[in-house]
């Protein structure tokens, strides 16, 4: 393989990394090409590591990188190598589950008695009704209206004092640099005092949302709400779970909330498996907690507490989680029902490690929660 040919391949390789979605900058590519002049490119290992340390900047991407690397450099010589399969276009995705009416229609027989189907198309609730109506009873138009209402409301995020100091008119510590600078102007006498105090920043929020079964609607609304609180989701880390847990923070940055949840649902929901809160929290605690729980994070769990897995595990993981965050809030839509008592085994076990146990079934409760959130401070 001559030099020019090899160089072309190197650049092609970078392109295939980019096509797979790995962020490789122009500068990195140049560095990679430069690096190739320093190493023995006949040495497979050296070549691999040079490519890896120059082009990869995130450990999460390592597996993808390795796959592409192997495929690219092994397949290059073969003239009829199989190209990468393009992702399936949306129209080829499996059909949505049929609606109940469709199902009934296909199963209906001539002999069945005719049913009066009530036309519900015009039953849009006015704003006041919307306030108190349970999300799970809403039509999709109403849900959209709620989303808009949430966006338009004025929310205050929860803040914390950081350790960084900034100059302020009043403060608890002298800003010596400014004091000296002004002293020079007054002949060496520090006449004018300047102050500094601790900078205030929004607290990071970690959302763990149950999207199995009926919980999905509530979780979507909650995400919408958090989006409005932090204006973007910059300080919000989002995870969704069913039988498993997955992180959707990166997806939310490029897609809208509904699409991100829909795609995540394919991986975390086992339609027959129910909800495994303990196992999902376990995964979160092991893999993610130390990366996202720093700096006084508030953790919000949205779930009805119907645990299908090991209740003891749920208990242990809740204890671990509570010790490592600033505030652990559990939102349970069932709490909206006055007669509800957290008697479900899972909920009862988790409850002793929860700082706030609140409802989230309608707009009023979301509003109340928003106020509560803003009051959490240093």
């Amino acid at each position: 393989m001559n030099g020019q040919h090899f160089l072309n391949n190197a650049v092609l390789f970078v392109q295939s990394l980019r096509q797979a979605g790995l962020p490789v900058s122009q500068e990195q590519t140049m560095d990679f090409v430069q690096a190739l002049t320093y190493i023995d490119i006949g040495d497979h290992q050296q070549f691999y590591f040079a490519a890896r340390c120059m082009l990869l900047s995130n450990h999460e991407h390592l597996r993808l990188f390795d796959t592409i690397f192997n495929r690219f450099w092994d397949i290059m010589p073969a003239p009829h190598g199989q190209g990468q399969k393009a992702p399936r276009a949306p129209r080829h995705l499996p059909e949505q589950k049929p609606y109940l009416f469709t199902y009934m229609a296909t199963r209906a027989q001539d002999s069945d008695p005719e049913l009066e189907v009530v036309d519900k198309s015009g039953t849009f609730s006015p704003a006041e009704v919307l306030q108190a109506k349970d999300f799970s009873h809403m039509t999709s138009e109403e849900l959209n209206a709620v989303k808009r209402l949430i966006q338009d409301m004025h929310w205050k995020a929860s803040f914390r004092r950081t350790r960084r100091r900034v100059a302020t008119p009043k403060g608890d510590m002298l800003h010596m640099r400014r004091v000296m600078a002004s002293a020079v102007r007054y002949g060496g006498v520090p006449l004018r005092l300047s102050w500094q105090s601790r900078k205030i920043k929004p607290r990071p929020i970690v959302l763990l949302a149950d999207i199995s079964g009926s919980m999905e609607k509530y979780s979507r609304i909650m995400l919408q709400f958090l989006y409005s609180v932090s204006h973007s989701l910059n300080t919000v880390e989002c995870f969704v779970f069913g039988t498993r847990l997955t992180r959707i923070t990166p997806q939310l940055k490029i897609k809208n909330i509904d699409r991100a949840i829909e795609e995540a649902a394919h991986t975390v929901i086992d339609w027959s498996g129910g909800t495994r809160i303990g196992e999902s929290l376990h995964l979160f605690n092991r893999r993610w907690s130390h990366r996202v729980l720093g700096r006084g994070a508030i953790v919000i769990i949205v779930s009805d507490g119907w645990e299908r897995g090991d209740v003891n595990q749920l208990k242990n993981e809740m204890r671990y989680l509570q010790l490592r965050c600033h505030r652990l809030i559990w939102l349970n839509p069932l709490l909206g029902n006055n007669e509800y008592e957290p008697l479900v085994e899972g909920m009862a076990a988790a409850l002793s490690y929860v700082d706030d146990f609140l409802p989230c079934h309608n707009l009023q409760s979301i509003e109340a929660f928003g106020k509560q959130l803003a009051q959490i401070d240093a």
Binding site: Y38, Q46, F49, T162, A183, G188, H290, R295
Partner: protein, 296 residues
Amino acid sequence: MFDSVDETVSILHEHQYIADMGLGTCLFLALKMGKAVFLEGEPGVGKTELAKVLSQAFDTPLIRLQCYEGLDINHAVYEWNYPRQLLEIQTRQNRPNNHTGVTDDIFAEEFLLKRALLQAIDQSNEQAPVLLIDELDRADEEFESFLLELLSDFQITIPELGTIQARHRPIVIITSNRTREIHDALKRRCVYFWIDYPSPDKEITIVQLKVPGISQQLSQQIVSFIQQVREQDLYKAPGVAETLDWARALGYLNAQTLESHLIDATLGFILKYQDDVDKIRGSVADSLLEQTLKVS
């Protein structure tokens, strides 16, 4: 400087640091191309150690900046020595001098306190120092963006004094434990490497090199046991640092071979969470030990 990847690995070995091909390539290229090395990995896999070894290998000072939230220019780069400035002003007021005014030259270099980053690019440096920016994930975004600026041209501007440019670019090692994602822009400026737990062979070499007092058989057993513990579902798997601590501890106990009661007594050296200790202690530890003894 090193001439090849192999030489890099072998010189590190001479200074008791066992690097694999990946780390060797990464380091060699970073030095060759004058780029910073960005190391990530679980705690206790030797990220910080690499910087120390490099400074020994090049016989050059190690300048260490431990990061924390709120780390600002005053603590990372420079600060004026305010008490000294005030004293100087008072002295001059009491003993007036026609040539110098009370506040002349009060922001001169003699009143400057040089912190780590300024020390690293100080023009009086005879040779390039090793600059270790440790646990960058603990610092905040503000510091990160400052660092991004510094790494691109290795110069610092002090408004009262002017711009200071490094004569010898320091060898920069940045480490992170990933308690927070570091911004991509910074990572892309650097040569990125994820240090994994070492392979069994490599770890045995490390133990024998660092803890020479124990028998070869014991060091093999220790490593084999530790490697199995890492595969368990734990909150915090033991790093190489824990392996070495444990090996030393077993050395002090005059252990010749790994035994159940020894493990039980010293489990705290490798596991740092009570939940993990509870999980491993007893039957799990015994079965891991059995596996270990079977292999060796």
